[in-house]
Amino acid sequence: MTAPTPIRTKAETALMAQYEALRRELPKQAAGQSAREAAMATFAASGLPHRRIEAYHYTDLRNLLREAAPLAHRPSATAGSSVEAGRFLGDIDAHEIIFVNGSLMHAEGLASQLPKGVSIGMVADTAPGILDGNDAVVALNTALSRETVTLEIAQGVAVERPLHLAFIQDAGAPQAVFARVCVRIGEGASVTLLESHEGPNAIATQSNIGVEIAAADDARVEHVRVNAEGDKAFSLSSLGLSLGHRACALSLNLILGSAISRHQILARFAGAEAKLRLDGVGMLDGGRHADVTLVVDHAMPGGESRELFKTVVDDRANAIFQGKIIVRPHAQKTDGKMMSAALLLSEDASMSNKPELEIFADDVQCGHGATCGALDENLLFYLMARGIPRREAQAILIRSFLGEALEELSSDELREALGGLIDSWLVRRS
């Protein structure tokens, strides 16, 4: 009973060929190159993860990713100016850091525009610092990202206006984008990060974005990520979070676009008494498939984590939530709560929940909940009895259901902007 020799799929072969081409193109820098090579070897050994791989049980990449699109070319220096980024976020006043097809635009000019204490740079090394290098998606990101864009917030600096990382796919034909961003927030510093992803409709764009956010002791960060990719997009994204002593982090993920998306989060408690909040809003219709997979790793004592994921699934769409809370031995006094709630709006919609707990310490409080069901008929009746048409009544209930996941945001402006996105989806639906 020997394991069968892996047969490479077309996409796997293409990805490996892309790596070979990229390797010739990139300058021969030893540090970056070895991490890429190791990552590619990891990928070559495992191939695209399939449903037999537990973490990808519901998102079988071998099956879903049939063709690997060609790598996007680096845009010309002016390309960014023709595309307006993040318009869908309304009038939020932010420092814009624009990436077109994965490449940072106006890198030189940007440094002077950013507020004091914030610096931006680029390094050739793409080795993951927080993300799990053994994960196939992360390995591909490491191997195929051209560089790592680093963003540093100096010790004690409170950045007032949000920093907006706007990723734009500027494509006329299918293309693949790989990018890696690493944000380091110094001791006691605080910042709001927006991360948006946009692309054209009707074009099968692909993306694999890796973001790492390391919050040092006593640092505070609020991170809002919006997936507003085109309706044919295939989006893979990985977020690595690391929390220092008494650090405080919130990350919210809102899914509005993409035909197929998978957002994975790995949050590590590197210091004691840190606080983490992960929220999610998912709006799925048509035949879309969205997977949110997260691991919260309580390695230090006294940590607190809260997760709240709200998803509405319409038409033939398919949503997945996989969440795992790990409490390591000695991570006593950990307090973790995870909740995933889904509304199924049509007969053919489906939802899969897998909230997991892995606990090795005895003095902890951990819980999880998962619910899945249709809109409450009694509530609908109540509204309709007051003359509100069915579709509108549904919209009111959906809006309040999803809105709960936005409540922890500290900025009203941001909450309103995201609420606006929910409303726009509801309008599109009706």
Binding site: H330, A342, M351, N353, E356, I359, D362, H368, G369, T371
Partner: protein, 489 residues
């Protein structure tokens, strides 16, 4: 918060070194040659005088088993099992087969007496006054005695060993065997299909309410043997049966394999209640020895309004790997799973259930409590799924785990898959979601919230476990009383 002292004491009282059933009986036995081969299967089949179709069925299973790989997804670790080093058949030389009670070897009777299992019909069970329970006693690979057979036959109930059923009721066995757990279902079920030796067979005709509790007691005695029993229970339309299995084994340094398959079939309006008190030898303090309990249990609610309820109290075995499941095929059918799993020493438990909602308005309820102490690992793994056509399906799941000490682990891995919008699934792993009005009622009368929660949840589970027959009920009750305080979801 950490577990309360009362709970710690109770769990200590059933620690691995307190194992009471660890004696062995010296009795002459007959074994099949060591290892797994077509000849051994031929030998087993021949011993039991089986028809050709069953031998072919076994051989096909063996052929399929050779193509399968041992599953490794469960959270358990063990050294590689050498399947060719085991004896697949061991039977006491005297008293094997369907003997009348007077012919049973007195040594065997003494063994079962020592275990508290009366094989005399007039005997009253310890601690259960006036209760009569029909017992099928399985010793290593064979059923040595079945009590109350005549009386049950009067009611039309067939209760016998599966070997006997193959001879006496081949049409029923052939129709239902493997219809819930197919031959190729999984590695251990396939192995069982190839080599199963004995087990119980129950058939309830239409409209019959079984006049007494049925029970099977499994005892492993021989060294180097595995036990592979097969149980098949068929409840025809409108019938009801409550069935209990218990099991123990002597203390030995080696690990022994127990791979059973249980199939339940409930037709229209039928109800099966299946309870297990699993007390196999758990190994010693250092984790040496103990039973590997790899069991496939599945119930098929084939008919409308049928109901299958699994209750399990798991305290034994070095490794437990079992997921009693319900296929809710019939409209309005119900599945229930109540489990208490206590692990101590170096025990590893990976257990849970599957509730597959296929029919309309099907309902399932899962209550699982895991308590881990010592160096043990205790995992709940479960699946609740609603098929596209399962309109109105409803599930409620509650699993709590409790850790005692710093060296153990508790894990929860639930899968909740819904493909139907009108299905309502709720899963919770905390103690906070009990109906507010009930909580309010209790707290209003002066209980604090912790006490109120324990009262409500324990009251709920107790309801089921109080119905456990035999003296096991006493032990089970003690476990139930274990406080939920400090549970971690």
């Amino acid at each position: 918060m950490p577990a309360v002292q009362e709970t710690v004491d109770r769990v200590r009282a059933i620690d691995v070194d307190q194992y009471r059933w660890g004696f062995s009986t010296s009795i002459e036995s007959e074994k099949a040659p060591k290892g797994l081969s077509e000849e051994v299967i031929g030998f087993i089949s021949g011993k039991k005088g089986e028809p050709q179709w069953l031998l072919d069925w076994r051989l096909e299973a063996l052929r399929r088993w050779r193509t399968l790989e041992e599953p490794n997804w469960a959270r358990v670790h063990h050294p590689k099992i050498e399947y060719d080093e085991l004896y697949y058949y061991a039977a006491p030389k005297k008293g094997g087969g369907p003997a009348s009670l007077d012919e049973v070897d007195p040594e065997l009777l003494k063994t079962f007496e020592k275990l508290g299992i009366p094989l005399k019909e007039q005997a009253v069970l310890a601690g259960v006054e006036g209760a009569r329970v029909a017992v099928d006693a399985v010793f290593d690979s064979v059923s040595v005695a079945t009590t109350y057979k005549e009386e049950l036959a009067k009611a039309g109930v067939i209760f016998c060993s599966i070997s006997e059923a193959v001879r006496e009721h081949p049409e029923l066995v052939r129709k239902y065997l493997g219809s819930v757990v197919p031959v190729t279902d999984n590695f251990f079920a396939t192995l069982n299909s190839a080599v199963f030796t004995d087990g119980s067979f129950v058939y309830l005709p239409k409209g019959v309410r079984c006049p007494m509790e049925l029970s099977t007691y499994f005892r492993i005695n021989e060294q180097n043997t595995g036990q592979f029993e097969r149980t098949l229970i068929i409840a025809d339309e409108g019938s009801y049966v409550s069935y209990l299995e218990g099991c123990t084994a002597p203390k030995r340094d080696e690990n022994q394999l127990h791979a059973a398959v249980v199939e339940l079939i409930a037709l229209d309006n039928a109800e099966i209640k299946y309870s297990t008190v699993q007390n196999w030898f758990p190994g010693d303090k250092e984790g040496k020895g103990g039973i590997y309990n790899f069991v496939t249990k599945r119930g098929d609610c084939r008919g409308k309004n049928s109901k299958i309820s699994w209750t399990q109290v798991e305290t034994g075995s070095a490794i437990t790997w079992k997921y009693p499941s319900c296929i809710l095929r019939g409209d309005n059918s119900q599945g229930e799973f109540y489990s208490i799993a206590v692990s101590n020493g170096h025990q590893q438990v990976d257990s849970g259930t599957k509730m597959l909602h296929l029919g309309k308005n099907t309902v399932s309820r899962i209550i699982s409590k895991g308590i881990a102490a010592g160096h043990s690992d205790n995992t709940y793994r479960g699946l609740v799924s609603a098929h596209r056509k399962a309109s109105g399906a409803r599930n409620f799941t509650n699993c709590d785990s409790l850790l005692i000490g710093q060296d153990c682990g508790a894990h929860t891995v639930p899968y909740i898959e819904s493909k139907n919008a009108s299905a309502v699934f709720e899963h919770e792993a905390t103690t906070s979601k009990i109906a507010e009005d009930q909580l309010f009622y209790c707290t209003q009368r002066g209980l604090n919230e912790e006490e109120a929660v324990a009262l409500i949840v324990n009251g709920f589970v107790k309801d089921v476990l109080q119905q456990l027959p035999m003296e096991f009920a006493v032990e089970a009750q003690k476990l139930i009383a274990v406080s939920l305080e400090g549970s971690v979801g």
